[in-house]
């Protein structure tokens, strides 16, 4: 079992609660439990993942529509977690869309400037707590 000891406090798989780390300057803090990105990936316009963390598979649902399935689900529906997605050029838009998104599957839609579905290379990231 992996164990992390921090200032005398032991963190292992059974540890619950919030882990907050103070930044080097002493003022800012980072809430690791809620604040760290738990899933990220970069995808081609056909949902082929180039690199990622915590992604099991990706689905090409049709023009501009993608689903990225997580290995470790988020604790709640991804619509209620923080996340963002971007396209890899200047003329497209990427966004999460609610219907069909769950705690373990993030649906994304890539659009052109007129808000029509359009294939795009894209990146995505999801924050929040894990199941």
């Amino acid at each position: 079992m992996s164990v992390l000891e921090l200032n005398g406090r032991i963190f292992d798989a059974s540890t619950t609660g919030t882990l907050t780390l103070t930044g080097e300057g002493g003022a800012a803090t980072t809430d690791v439990t809620q604040g760290l990105a738990k899933c990220w990936g970069g995808s081609t316009n056909a949902a082929v993942i180039n690199d990622s963390l915590n992604v099991a598979s990706s689905v090409d649902n049709g023009t501009g529509q993608y689903t990225h399935n997580l290995s470790n689900a988020m604790i709640q529906d991804i619509n209620n977690s923080g996340g963002t997605a971007t396209v890899h050029n200047d003329s497209g838009i990427a966004r999460y869309f609610g219907s069909g998104t769950t705690a373990s599957a993030a649906k994304l839609r890539c659009l052109d400037e007129s808000f029509n579905d359009e294939d795009h290379m894209h990146s995505f990231v999801i924050h929040g707590d894990l199941a």
Binding site: S14, V48, S57, V59, N61, S104, L130
Partner: protein, 156 residues
Amino acid sequence: MIQTPEFQGTHLWNRLSWAKENLEMYKSEYCVVYEDNMDECAKVLHPDPNWMACALQGGILPPVTSYWELKKDEAKPDFVKHTRGPELLHNMKPIGPMTEEEAIEYLIMKDVPESVWRDWDKGNQPKMVICKKEQLPPTREWRNAWKIDPELKVAA
């Protein structure tokens, strides 16, 4: 080959992070084409290369039945948050190494709707096909018209 640590009891996300640092990505040449709605175009599932590395390595991923249980929880009308993550993902004994074929089958049972894979070869035409990426149409010009050929002969 690097030895997988004893991971039962370690948070799955920490295992994935270990794999990310220690395993080479495996880019499968296979994908899964399926139809879950006859009014929509065919969908194409691609395995994640880091996930494939975990599957081939063994000792990292939970059994696929854990994901079925999580899906059952998510389908409940009063679902708000997962409460069985430790029981189903982190404390469950990880499964051993899989072949590429077994990994694709696992992924189908994890991420393709059960209504598709449970009786994929029943009915008038196949609802799912495992194929090589090079067998997909070469351009995406007519992507929303892609369908599985009803005349396709499939082998179990």
